[in-house]
Amino acid sequence: MDPKTREDLLKLFQGKLNEAMTFYLETCTRCGVCIEACHVYASMGKVRYIAAYRQEIVRRIYKKYFKARGNVWPSVGDAKELNDMALEELYEAAYSCTGCRRCMVYCPFGIDTQMIMSIAKLLLVGAHSEPEILTLLADTSIEKGKSLDIFKESFLTGIKKLEKDVVKKWKMEAGGTPIPMDVQGADLLFVALAGAHSIIPTAAIFNAAGENWTLSFFEAVNFGAFVGDPGRTQLILDRIVKEAKRLKVKEVCICECGTAFRVMKQLAGKQPFKVSSVTEVHARYIKEGRIQLDRSLLNGVVTYHDPCQIARNGDVIDAPRYILKHLTNHFREMSPDPKYNWCCGGGGGLVALGEETLDFRMKSSKVKADQIKRTEATTVVTACENCHTQLCNLNDHYQMGVDVKFLSSMVADALVQK
C-alpha cells in the first residue's frame, strides 16, 4: 500500500473517532465474556469470529496510529500497521459480522462491535475493496433519487399492475385507489421494498383500516448502511425524507426491513413526521379496532424471530407479539429474552451478497437453526426482508420443514371483511 493511500485511509479512520467510538476502542479488557455471544463463533468455533477478536483487528490499527503508545511501544498492545494484509483481515472481520449487537449485551462495558466494524467497512470503501455488489446497489438507489422524473411513469405503471392483487385481499369501495401514490397531504407515507410481496399485503391492510396513505417512490432498504458508507447512507435516506416533506405526511412507515427501519428512525434526526415500523402500525390498527383478524387460520405452534435491527436495536418488541396474539393461540417464544435472540445470520449485507455468502451464512447460523427446531414450531414468522430470506435458506439447508412467513402477509391473509 502506498503512503498516500494509507494517509487517506487514516483520515477516514480519524473521522470516525467520536466520543463513543473512542470509548469502545480504548476499553476492551479482553476478558472474554463476549466469547459465546456471537452466533458465528457459537456455530463455527473459530477464534477469529469472537467479537473481541474482530474488534482487535480494528483496534490494533488504532493503537498504531492514534495512540502515543503506537510510536513508543507498539508491541505492548500488538499494534499493527495498516497495509494490504490488514485490509484483508478487516474484510474478513467486517463481512462475517452481521452487526446484530448480541455481543454488546454480553460485554460488561457494552462495547458495540457493529460500530467498530463500521470503521473496517469505511476503510474498505476508501480502499475500493468493499463488496462491489453493495456499492452498486447503493449507487442505483441514489441515482433513482436524483432522476425520479425519468422513470416515474414506468414505475407507476408497474405499481398499477399490482392493484388487482391488493383488491383480491381486500375489496374496496368503488372509486378508491388500491395503491395511492404521490398523494399530497396523506397521513402516512409507506416506504416499501420494490417487490410485490412487500407492497400488496400491507396495501390491503391500510385500505382495510381506512388509512389515508401513499406509497413512496423509493425502496426502503439502505445499501449504503450495509456497505458502511456514511455519505451514501445519508443520500439514500435523504430521498425519502425529501419525499415525506414534499407530501407533508405526518408519519413515515417503514416496511419489514430491519436496516431501513433503524437507519430511518435513528439517522433521520428531528423531522416534522414520526417514523414507525409497519409492525407498530398494524398493532395500532388492531388496538384501535380498525381491523379485525381471523384467529382460526393457523395450525401448529407459531414462533417469532425478532429481527436484530428492529427488536434489540430498534425497540419494536411488544407490537409483533400483540399482533400474533390475535393470529394464533399457539404462540411460543424462541428465546427467553428478546435481547438474547440469536441473529438469523443474514444481516450486515450478507443476504444482499446472495449466493456468494450462502455457504458461510448456513454454517454460521447453525445455532439459529437449532434454536428454531427447539421451539417445535411449524410456522416461523418474522418482520424483516433479510431475516426472511435467510430463514428460508436455513429452512432448506437444515431441512427444518417450517413455514417461513412475513408478519404483514399473515395479517393481510387474516383480515376479516366486514
Binding site: L17, N18, E19, A20, M21, T22, F23, Y24, E26, T27, C28, T29, R30, C31, G32, V33, I35, E36, A37, V47, I50, A52, Y53, E56, K67, A68, R69, S75, V76, G77, D78, R101, M104, V105, Y106, C107, P108, F109, G110, I111, D112, M115, Q266, L267, G269, A311, R312, N313, G314, D315, I317, P338, K339
Partner: protein
Amino acid sequence: MNTLYYFVLIPMVYFSFTVFFVGTGIRLVKIFRKPKQSTSLQIYPEKRPQWLWALHDTFLFPSVRKHKPVLWIFLILFHVCLLLLMIGHLELFGEFRIFQIIPHEVFLGKGFVGLILCLAVLFFLFRRFLSPVRELSVPEDYYLLILLFLIVLFGSQMDWARRWYGYEELLVEDYRTYLLSLLTLKPELPYNVINSGHSFMLVLHVFFANLFLIFFPFSQSMHSFLSLPMNKLRRG
C-alpha cells in the same frame, strides 16, 4: 543502595503520581470533548430509570454474572478488595474517623484482602493462558496483571509480616511519617523505612506501583473511568 531506595521512594513517586493524575485527566478531557455520537446506541428493551441501571451494570457486572459466574466471583472480590485497599492506603496517611465506623487495625481485613487480591490476580492471569482468552489477549493484559501481582504480593508481605509473624520493626507510624512528608512536599525517609530488614519489600512494592501508575493512563485500565459512560450509552 540508599540512593536507589531514595530514588524509588521519593522522586519516582512524585513522577508517577504526576503522570497518573495529569495523564488520566488530560486523556479523559480529550475523550469527553470529542463530538458526541448523534444516534442512539441503546439496547432494548429499556428499563427505567436508565441511569440507575447503568450504575447497576457498571458496578455489579450482571452480564458477567450471567455468562461467566466463576469469573464474576473473582471480579467482584477483586474490585471490592481494591476498594478496601485504597481505603487502607489512605489510612496510611493518618486517621480517618469515617473509616473507623467499623473499628479495625490499619489495613482492613486482617491481611486477607491482600491474599484474596493475589489469588484473584493469579486467577485472571491463568485464565489468560487458556484458549480462547489466550488468543484474545495482548501483552499489555499480561503485563498489567503481572505488575498487579507483584504490587499486591510485596504490599501484602509487609502487612502479613506485621500481623501474622509479629514483625515489629516497620510500623504504621513509620509509613505515616514518610507518606505525610511526601504529601507536605518535605520528603523525608525515617530511619526504619529504609534500614529495616523488610525495607526492600516496601521499595519493591512502591517501585511496581509506580510503574503501574505510569502505565495506567495509557492502558486498558482506563476502563475504570470509561465503564460508566459506556454503560449509560447502552442503557440509553
